[in-house]
Point group: C2
Chain length 433, copies 2
């Protein structure tokens, strides 16, 4: 139970836990110590779990949170991107259903003259992971060496790859711990987790896409705004120009949720087509990133139209061993979901579609699980569309037909057909920064 013998510790974990438990503010020295000692194992998992629950309860004051985040950054290395000849800008989404935006966005922004180092993760639960999606491209590999990373970022302008273990290792440990101890949904803990990783990535500018709605981590606008404001402040404290958009996640983005399905849709966008909402959000985020990088003169719509973004995409995929011309894996089985009535599709719930895609095999329940490249959901209609009873609304893709039943159960309450079109909800709900 006890740990850290053989080294005199500056503080006692119990004292730090009790201070926060009783509503006190931790000193800079206490925060530095507890994050460092946890990273090297002198503060035990059960002690950090108790502290995380106390933070969940009592919160962290702005000074504490800023220091906590900084301590997590200092638990590992902070990338130095000063070698780049172009400005680096990063983007982070809090995760949503059908959120493939990073795929067209990174090459698009690179095509406009910025460098985009996009250190990404895998999916867990109902939201997909960018690396899972790209891994459906034959040959593509998520892991790149330091040398490859630097060369690709300079020469191609965009790298989407797995984050190394040296980046905010305290967060890596703490994130896994929070996952099993019911301490995930705490705004200071979420904000410091995201921002410690993003700041450690070394970009001078960062655009955050904070999702709001049923399919998002933050279902309501107020908590999403609080999270966004907290992260923007943390970015500023660390000298990173940070802007956050609050964007709608009550219905899936685009017309696909799944790995290969979303890559195909991203390629459509890069080819100048694709669903309007995906194009809109890609361009909006691209403009924010270019402005943050000091390239507000560049026109990302042009770069989509004239094929420059697609060129970068192809080079980016090839640089990591992928074949941009290879056929994407398709699932073995399909199943259509029919419209329950005639009228207007008023609701197609993001969470319902996300859980369905997950159950079809696109996501994983445990970190150790694999994902299916072909599984997922294709939306044949979107909210606001007129539909006729019996007409196919959704196409379910799975390798194993036994999965359809559980996916259908998730969708039951997620689809509504009514007499009149729903109020149109804007895609971008607010901007903070």
């Amino acid at each position: 139970m006890s740990a850290g013998a053989g080294r005199t510790e500056l503080f006692s974990a119990v004292d730090v836990i009790r201070a926060k438990r009783d509503g006190g503010e931790l000193s800079d020295e206490q925060i530095d110590w507890v994050i460092d000692a946890y990273t090297r194992g002198a503060v035990a998992e059960e002690q950090m779990a108790a502290l995380a629950m106390a933070v969940f309860w009592r919160g962290l004051a702005p000074r504490e949170l800023s220091r906590w985040t900084d301590a997590m950054i200092r638990s590992g290395e902070r990338l130095d991107l000063s070698f780049l000849s172009r400005p680096a800008v990063d983007k982070h989404s809090t995760g949503g259903v059908g959120d493939k935006i990073t795929l067209p966005l990174a090459p698009l922004v690179a095509a406009c003259g910025a460098a985009v180092p996009q250190l990404s993760g895998r999916g867990l639960g109902h939201t997909g992971g960018t690396l899972d999606k790209l891994e459906s491209i034959p040959g593509w590999r998520a892991s790149v060496s330091n040398t490859e990373f630097r060369r690709q970022l300079e020469e191609v302008g965009a790298v989407i790859c797995a984050a190394g273990a040296d980046l905010a290792p305290a967060d890596r440990k703490l994130y896994a711990l929070r996952d099993v101890t019911g301490t995930v949904d705490s705004i200071p803990l979420i904000a410091s987790s995201i921002m410690s990783k993003k700041i450690a990535e070394g970009s001078a500018a960062l655009v955050l896409d904070v999702k709001v709605g049923s399919g998002a981590f933050m279902p309501d606008l107020n908590s999403a705004r609080e999270l966004a404001e907290t992260m923007v402040r943390l970015g500023g404290d660390a000298g990173v120009r940070t802007v956050a958009l609050l964007t709608d996640m009550s219905t899936p983005l685009g017309r696909t949720a799944g790995n290969g399905l979303e890559v195909a849709e991203a390629v459509e966008v890069l080819a100048g087509g694709g669903p309007a909402d995906v194009v809109e959000l890609t361009l909006t985020l691209a403009r924010e990133m270019l402005a943050a990088a000091g390239r507000e003169d560049a026109d990302p719509a042009d770069a989509l139209r004239d094929g420059r973004a697609m060129d970068v995409w192809r080079r980016m995929i090839r640089a990591q061993g992928g074949d941009p011309d290879a056929a994407l894996p398709a699932s073995k089985e399909r199943h259509d979901v029919a419209a329950p009535a005639t009228g207007v599709l008023t609701r197609l719930d993001a969470l319902a579609v996300g859980v369905a895609a997950w159950r079809l095999g696109a996501g994983r329940a445990r970190k150790e699980d694999g994902v299916s490249a072909g599984a997922g959901v294709r939306l044949l209609a979107r909210p606001g569309d007129r539909v006729t009873a019996g007409q196919p609304l959704l196409e379910l893709h799975a390798d194993d037909p036994a999965r359809f039943r559980a996916a259908l159960a998730a969708l039951t309450d997620g689809i509504e057909v009514g007499p009149a079109p729903p109020a149109r909800r804007p895609l971008v709900l607010d901007r903070i920064g």
Copy 2:
């Protein structure tokens, strides 16, 4: 991080933690599961730590607490004392400085016709442990077999020994966890910890001595009363007649704090002498225990006077290998603490004396540490006594003179001499039951 693979669990630990975290009440089934799963390792230490902090925050409703306690009892065996020809009655003190009451009390109550199974612990921090004290008697051993326990309880009437590992093992694990995670001082967690062990010991009656004041776990009367009421209710829920006394612990009990020093004082009481407060509390608790055991006709003062209690003491010590006539170990070094002024000793703080005794070697800082049999503090004056500047107030005993300095530092603010006697504080502050 995850545990319990290979067995389908009824609940998810994260769901249980989140329910309590969000202020909900846990169901009986959730409580039974989480205590059982924690005991067998399917709920990890870090998960129980987060739950304990959530309980610290949100509390447990009476139904939850009763079930929680019962689940901890059911994690092990509950002793069956029905073989006894006399009624069994148990006593528990929440711990104080100089609290050697169990030593004269157990043989005294046995001498009056009840059976006293006193499963005790070792000390940690500034309060001493009953087993540590008895182990200063040459030859005495704390561990007895089941058969020895039953025979001694029937034939001698009193056993003070170490609790077996089979008694409330969930509490054993949880207690160690709370100690390192800042979740000790939660009334429901304290109450369920004490009562699960005491109820598992199988007595039909229980008298609680809840200490109040600087040297106690509960410094103020209100929290001590809440703890006492909670434990009395839990006893009733489990069919154990339970009474609690709230007793003063603002100054040490008697004139000694230390292992061998306290045994010697207990023997004085059994010989019909000893400090008035120790005699008063011993008799008061004895009367409560005898009443709870249905022996209200017995007069414990008689049994002290006529040597029957001393006879049981000697048989009890001998039954566990001890020599009641052997000299008790004395410390190698002594150091006197002088009165700082002439007047009346108005304050001799229990916590200050407890910490001093601990630092002199009477207590341990870690479970693995040993204790010194001879170390401790002898009080040469008590609050209310007239003292002259320079007169010895305390005698410090230690094997290593290097320890005096730290002990003296603990005492600095604990001694006050004033012009007038302090208001007399009664020893027994309240009775609940």
